[in-house]
């Protein structure tokens, strides 16, 4: 088994709003091994980004991490001081956000912003920093980097800005790169390029990547393992081949059936009935049960625990484990 880099145990991050407590992340367990790419998939508002922000300890009011542990390289990030966290942010863990067009400060050149990131974490001479920026911009595929580093963000295209953001994130050789829907706001061809770049980056920098997204297809292309989240809970956690071949959780199955495929003739795409539940005071039991076609009585009463049903394959569903297995075919 690989050595783990990041280990999240029973993470609970709630938002205390005027309407009530939003349990955005409610008891999530996750492990990312060294040099591994883990995909975190789920619909909008299921808490994926909150997991990312919790790791960085960037949850702002009215949000709060109310429980759990986040172990990173043998240290619990939740017991770190703010000053210690600042060293970790950008230095050992870096984030790429989903909107490259607004992720760079409009009043500074791209190069100076990367320089700033480097200066925050490393002692380096001016010319060394410049060389480093040119080198790293070149690595992420920015043409004539020594000239383009003098440009302002508005002079870059969206795809190039995302490349620059990746360069900035990698400038201090982080151990973990969190990519929060890095391709969502880009058009399809650029998406493919950015994914290609992420793959190359992974080899080059030996960093683990936590790739957050809602597109199982995109995610599985890059990831070793995939975790599926639904309404603040982890529902399934397995490797990226198994998730397609043998999805266990009804939600994962439904999610897969709702992806259009070219190789299978389908009548209609599946639509998961109902909507994502409100996370303010959710109904008891499994969060998916109101939309689940296999829902049983117990599903509306108790919260299913995440249980291991195979080699590195965990599911949170009462259909498995002690209770009889479902007999249905998928695909």
């Amino acid at each position: 088994m690989n050595e783990s880099l990041l280990n999240i145990k029973d993470l609970k991050t709630y938002y205390f709003t005027a309407e009530g407590t939003v349990k955005a992340v409610d008891g999530v367990h996750l492990t990312i091994n060294k040099e591994e790419v883990l995909g975190l998939v789920g619909e909008s508002g299921c808490g994926k980004s909150t997991v990312a922000l919790s790791i960085m300890r960037l949850i702002r009011d009215p949000g709060k991490i109310v429980g759990g542990e986040i172990w990173f390289e043998g240290e619990n990030l939740l017991s770190k001081s703010e000053a210690e966290m600042r060293k970790i942010r950008g230095g050992r863990i870096a984030v790429i956000f989903q909107n490259p067009m607004s992720s760079m400060n409009p009043v500074f050149t791209v190069g100076s912003q990367i320089a700033e990131a480097i200066k925050l974490h490393q002692d380096a001479q001016k010319h060394e920093i410049k060389e480093k920026i040119v080198e790293i911009l070149d690595k992420v595929g920015i043409p004539s980097p020594s000239e383009r580093m003098e440009d302002y963000p508005h002079e870059y295209s969206g795809g190039m800005l995302q490349r620059a953001m990746i360069a900035m994130a990698l400038s201090c050789n982080p151990k973990l790169l969190i990519a929060d829907e890095p391709t969502t706001n880009l058009d399809v061809t650029i998406q493919a390029q950015i994914l290609e770049l992420m793959r190359a980056v992974r080899k080059e920098f030996d960093a683990s990547i936590l790739l957050i997204g809602h597109d199982l297809g995109v995610i599985s292309e890059l990831c070793d393992r995939v975790a599926v989240m639904y309404a603040g809970k982890l529902v399934e956690h397995t490797d990226s081949t198994t998730i397609f071949k043998e999805p266990k959780h009804p939600y994962t199955q439904a999610l897969l059936k709702s992806i259009p495929r070219l190789d299978v003739e389908t009548e209609r795409l599946l639509i998961i009935p109902g909507t994502v539940p409100r996370l303010i005071n959710p109904s008891p039991g499994c969060r998916f049960h109101p939309r689940c076609e296999y829902a049983k009585e117990i599903c509306s009463k108790e919260d299913p625990p995440l249980i291991e049903i195979g080699q590195g394959h965990s599911v949170a569903c009462f259909l498995y484990g002690s209770i009889d297995k479902p007999n249905h075919k998928h695909r």
Binding site: S103, V107, F108, E116, L120, Q193
Partner: protein, 297 residues
């Protein structure tokens, strides 16, 4: 990592790089479009140069005395005042005092307003609540009354005291604008990105947010300068000013008694005040458009 053809294509397109100088030029180009703004800039520049080079430009020494109350003539373009001094010289030297008052008070206003606005806007919460209530209270105090009270209390008629009081009580509006800018900017993705790269709060405030709020700060400061000049002139005219610093207000106060007989004695200092105020306002308006600042009217 990148398809070859695309990389080559991007290489071919000539990269246009604006330096800081061209950015300034860009603002100037936009400013130039408006005749009013240009006129404002001209007046401001003219007054500033007059103040800076007063000893060179002024036809007489400010202490020089001749016949009193001479009408404007080629010898004395603006005439002479009640004690026989050349009025043009006095108006030119008065620009020094009046501009000093305006600029120094605005500097103070900017300093306090920035600190209060930045802290309140960025940190929010309780500290924001406290600072904004203080701001509200100070905003209700009439400036002129404060100035009169201060002069009476300290029994010093010093131009510096007047500047100090104006600056110390003049910042609420600036603080409010800065706060609202910070409230908006702290929610931006680039601030989040900077935080995630490990930047500290103060680094984010000063390096990442402040430069983005600079335009609005410059515009407000420009528009506030004539207000301070006016306050000082009004205060002096009411008899609470520093008579040893011959600002335009002092000239008005001294000339008031002769207004009915020798019109030029108060007309020229008055016109200087009027045009300076007009100039700064037009210039500020133009800057607002050129820097593309959104402000409540």
């Amino acid at each position: 990592m990148k398809s070859r053809s695309q990389a080559e294509e991007e290489k071919k397109t000539k990269v246009y790089k604006p330096s800081r100088a061209t950015q300034l030029f860009d603002v100037w180009r936009k400013l130039k479009k408006s005749k009013m703004a240009l006129a404002g800039f001209g007046i401001v520049l003219f007054m500033t140069l007059a103040a800076l080079f007063a000893p060179v430009i002024a036809p007489y020494d400010p202490g020089w005395m001749g016949s009193a109350r001479l009408a404007p003539s080629p010898v004395h373009l603006f005439g002479t005042d009640a004690s026989g001094r050349d009025l043009l010289t006095l108006v030119i030297y008065g620009a020094r005092i009046s501009l000093y008052v305006g600029l120094a008070a605005v500097m103070l206003e900017m300093f306090i307003g920035l600190v209060v606005g930045m802290v309140a806007g960025y940190f929010g919460g309780k500290i924001d609540e406290i600072l904004m209530r203080i701001t509200d209270v100070i905003l209700t105090l009439p400036m002129l009354m404060l100035l009169i009270v201060a002069v009476a209390m300290f029994e010093v008629r010093s131009i510096h005291l007047i500047v100090l009081v104006m600056g110390v009580f003049g910042w609420p509006e600036m603080a409010r604008y800065v706060r609202s800018e910070f409230l908006t900017l702290r929610e931006t993705t680039f601030v989040e990105a900077a935080t995630s790269m490990g930047a500290s709060s103060w680094r984010i405030i000063l390096r990442h947010i402040l430069p983005n709020a600079l335009s609005i700060i410059i515009v407000i400061a420009t528009m506030d300068i004539p207000w301070y000049i006016f306050y000082e002139a009004t205060l002096t005219f009411l008899g609470f000013g520093d008579l040893s610093s011959p600002s335009w207000g002092v000239l008005l106060e001294r000339g008031y008694d002769f207004a009915a007989y020798q019109w030029w004695i108060i007309t020229f200092p008055g016109l200087a005040l009027f045009f300076t105020s007009l100039g700064f306002n037009l210039f500020g308006d133009g800057l607002r458009d050129a820097l593309d600042v959104k402000m409540r009217e």
